[in-house]
């Protein structure tokens, strides 16, 4: 009898708890469904239509035509290659320099906060402002050419850093690296502080040097953080838009476009909604595959 009452009561409370939990979840779920799931599903549907946005217009079903159009579009190929280049350079670049900054800052007692603040400053600065700044630095009559040519006289003529594809992409990746060091530093600093001090003490007793400690203690203990940073930064690199839009605008002749600037152009200049939706799903697929590979390679460490 007692156990029966207990069962009913606990069931009642469980039910009540479920309702409460549901009520707590509803606002978040509504937002996610409205602004994440619904647009994803809608866009997936759009990618199979010649999607018309006009008043009272019918959108014909075109099957996989938009996907074929993306794969056969040379500019989409250029944009994708540029994006992969941007990711391949900025992700390791930010992480290596961010980790280096974290190691240096972690080892000092004085001005620790000052250095953290200074290194983090670019992260909180507006993308548009720093992009304009970099455009000024790398333009034909910009600061870099002035220093190299007029001040130090290391080169006889100005270099067109932004004039052609690869120098322009390289200049933009430098911005991406510079702006991301601070974020990586903060994440790695937290990870480094979580590595037990005893490991280093034991290694010191065994006669391990700085390099051995770094490779055999530090790196294995922050593996989860490395995976987290790699995945997040790769997704971020594929979502890059502002630096290219501001620095080169995809010029000349779309040769410095990246997937988002090309997607934007197709959407708002050519009204090709179906094409842009297909491109976005292809990019999402690529990011998903890269993330899965990273998880396989780096293992399922706790993040």
């Amino acid at each position: 009898m007692t156990s029966g009452v207990f069962f009913i009561t606990s069931k009642y409370f469980r039910k009540k708890d479920n309702i409460r939990m549901l009520l707590l979840l509803v606002p978040g779920l509504v937002v996610i469904v409205m602004f994440t799931f619904y647009p994803i599903i809608k866009m997936f549907i759009m990618s199979f239509f010649d999607w018309k946005i006009g008043y009272n217009q019918v959108s014909p079903f075109v099957g996989i035509k938009n996907y074929i159009a993306v794969f056969s579009d040379p500019i989409a190929g250029i944009a994708l290659t540029n994006t992969i280049f941007y990711a391949a350079v900025t992700v390791p670049g930010q992480m290596i320099l961010g980790l280096l900054a974290a190691l240096l800052i972690n080892g000092i007692k004085k001005f620790n906060v000052t250095f953290r603040l200074l290194y983090y400053l670019p992260v909180v600065t507006s993308w548009v402002i720093v992009s304009l700044l970099f455009r000024y630095i790398f333009s034909n009559n910009g600061l870099l050419n002035y220093l190299l040519t007029d001040v130090f006289k290391w080169i006889p003529e100005y270099i067109g850093w932004l004039s052609t594809r690869w120098p322009a992409m390289t200049s933009t990746t430098l911005l991406g690296i510079w702006k991301g060091i601070g974020w990586n530093m903060v994440i790695f600093l937290a990870a480094l502080q979580a590595v037990p001090e005893e490991y280093y003490e034991a290694a010191s007793i065994d006669g391990a040097g700085y390099i051995q400690k770094f490779f055999y203690i530090t790196l294995p203990n922050i593996k989860g953080t490395i995976l987290f940073c790699t995945v997040m930064l790769t997704i971020g690199a594929f979502n890059t838009y502002t630096p290219i839009a501001v620095i080169t605008g995809g010029n000349p002749a779309h040769q410095t476009d990246i997937v988002l600037t090309w997607m934007y152009y197709q959407t708002f200049s050519s009204f090709k909604m179906g094409y842009a939706a297909a491109l976005s799903f292809i990019v999402a697929g690529i990011v998903a595959v890269i993330s899965i590979i990273l998880f396989k390679v780096l293992g399922h460490e706790r993040i």
Binding site: Y55, N56, Q57, G160, A168, N251, A253, T256, F268, S269
Partner: protein, 419 residues
């Protein structure tokens, strides 16, 4: 996408069903303003030139003369104006009046969002008679008018007086001058972009064209001998450092800054260039003349803006919007806008003494307007310009032979025309 200012939607316009509802022409419903109505007006008047201040004054005058009508003006820059209409076409959140690029008319008409104004308003013909015919022709798509001209412009040659001593009168002379004055610090000639807006003028003036007159094909036109010769000339000038621009070389200074700092010796541009140069580089000694002529004459590209109205507005809003458009295309408003750099389309305003005094280059533009031409009026023109820009840039940069690049452009444009 951020909609900078949300228009007041008529009660039914935000639902998908409502966007599909057939809106009757204003006349068929009671079009008398019986209760206060607020119309939404999207535009891209230039605040820096003082145009929005003048617009505010004009709106006050209009509201006083038309009790019960309030005009809510919202500024959007060129691309944002287009983007918001694209987004609004889906949601039904469109303004009652829009003043935007003449190139928007066929593009928006293809989205089926514009009011067929010559059918909707019996006095459209009277309003159209008051404005210049050529600029108003840009509001025509097929057999009907989907807008009315707001202001007009074309392009003329601006040159740096310190660098150019002999003013070129022909295009051949202009290329030769560009070559002569170029040096390590000076680029003879600048074009801000390589689309049709920038290349049509040269191709037309040398006797060529972009498309067949019936818009059936680009083959034999954009890749014809005249167009190829023009683009080859620009490629040759680029190769020797006598021609550049911010889209050909993203590291090069923007056209206004390049002219202002003496980096560029010449450029061909619209009336806004005079305002920009005077405002930003008051020390610059620049001159302006009609665009140098080719064998077929000096044939510039017709530019400007049109007023448009949207089907999503109900009859009461459409009636109020049409009153506002008539006011803005009337003599008084056009004279006031001319004082801040907008070239009038109203025939009476064009001859007004105040306008002539306010626009020192008016006579040069007036001459240029006599011979300029409108770009092809087709909803695909935006895409075509993109193709021309890409292929011509590749050719000018020397990445492809000019003929090859323009053959590719012709094939891509033909594919668009066949859709």
């Amino acid at each position: 996408m951020v909609i900078s200012g949300c228009p007041t939607p008529p009660a039914e316009e935000v639902t998908e069903e409502a966007t599909k509802k057939e809106v009757k022409p204003a006349e068929e419903e009671t079009a008398v303003v019986t209760e206060p109505v607020t119309i939404q007006f999207w535009h891209n008047y230039d605040a820096g030139a003082g145009q929005i201040d003048v617009l505010d004054q004009l709106i006050s005058q209009f509201e006083k003369a038309n009790p019960g009508i309030t005009v809510n003006q919202i500024y959007l820059e060129w691309q944002a104006l287009k983007n918001n209409v694209v987004a609004g076409a889906t949601t039904g959140m469109l303004p009652d009046v829009l003043r935007g690029d003449i190139g928007f008319v066929p593009q928006f008409q293809a989205l089926d969002v514009l009011v067929e104004m010559d059918t909707a308003f019996s006095d459209y013909a009277d309003a159209a008679d008051a404005v210049l015919e050529a600029p108003n022709s840009t509001a025509k798509s097929g057999d009907h008018y989907y807008g009315i001209a707001s202001n007009t412009n074309t392009k003329i040659l601006y040159y740096n007086k310190d660098l150019i001593t002999t003013i070129p009168t022909t295009l051949d002379e202009m290329w030769a001058t560009a070559e002569e004055v170029s040096s390590e610090d000076v680029i003879g000639f600048c074009e801000a972009w390589m689309g049709g807006w920038n290349l049509c003028q040269y191709i037309w003036s040398y006797g060529g064209d972009i498309l067949a007159p019936d818009y059936s094909t680009a083959t034999g036109y954009i890749n014809g001998s005249v167009a190829v010769k023009v683009i080859q000339k620009l490629a040759d000038l680029y190769a020797i450092g006598a021609f550049s621009g911010p889209t050909i070389d993203p590291g090069a200074p923007p056209d206004t800054d390049g002219m202002g700092t003496g980096k560029y010796a010449m450029t061909i541009d619209g009336p806004w260039k005079a305002k920009d140069l005077s405002a930003k580089y008051s020390d610059l000694q620049y001159g302006a003349v009609q665009m140098p002529a080719g064998p077929a004459g000096s044939i510039g590209v017709l530019g400007g803006e049109d007023f448009m109205m949207f089907k999503t507005s109900d009859a009461v809003h459409q009636d109020a919007a049409w009153k506002f458009i008539k006011f803005m295309t009337g003599k008084d408003a056009q004279v006031e806008m001319a004082k801040v750099g907008q070239m009038p389309v109203n025939k009476v305003a064009l001859a007004d003494d105040e306008v002539i005094e306010a626009m020192p280059l008016l006579s040069i533009f007036a001459d240029a307007l006599q011979t300029c031409k409108a770009r092809p009026v087709t909803p695909k023109w935006g895409d075509m310009e993109g193709i021309i820009n890409t292929k011509a840039t590749e050719a000018v940069l020397g990445q492809k032979p000019v003929q090859t690049a323009m053959d590719e452009a012709a094939a891509e444009i033909d594919a668009l025309l066949q859709q």
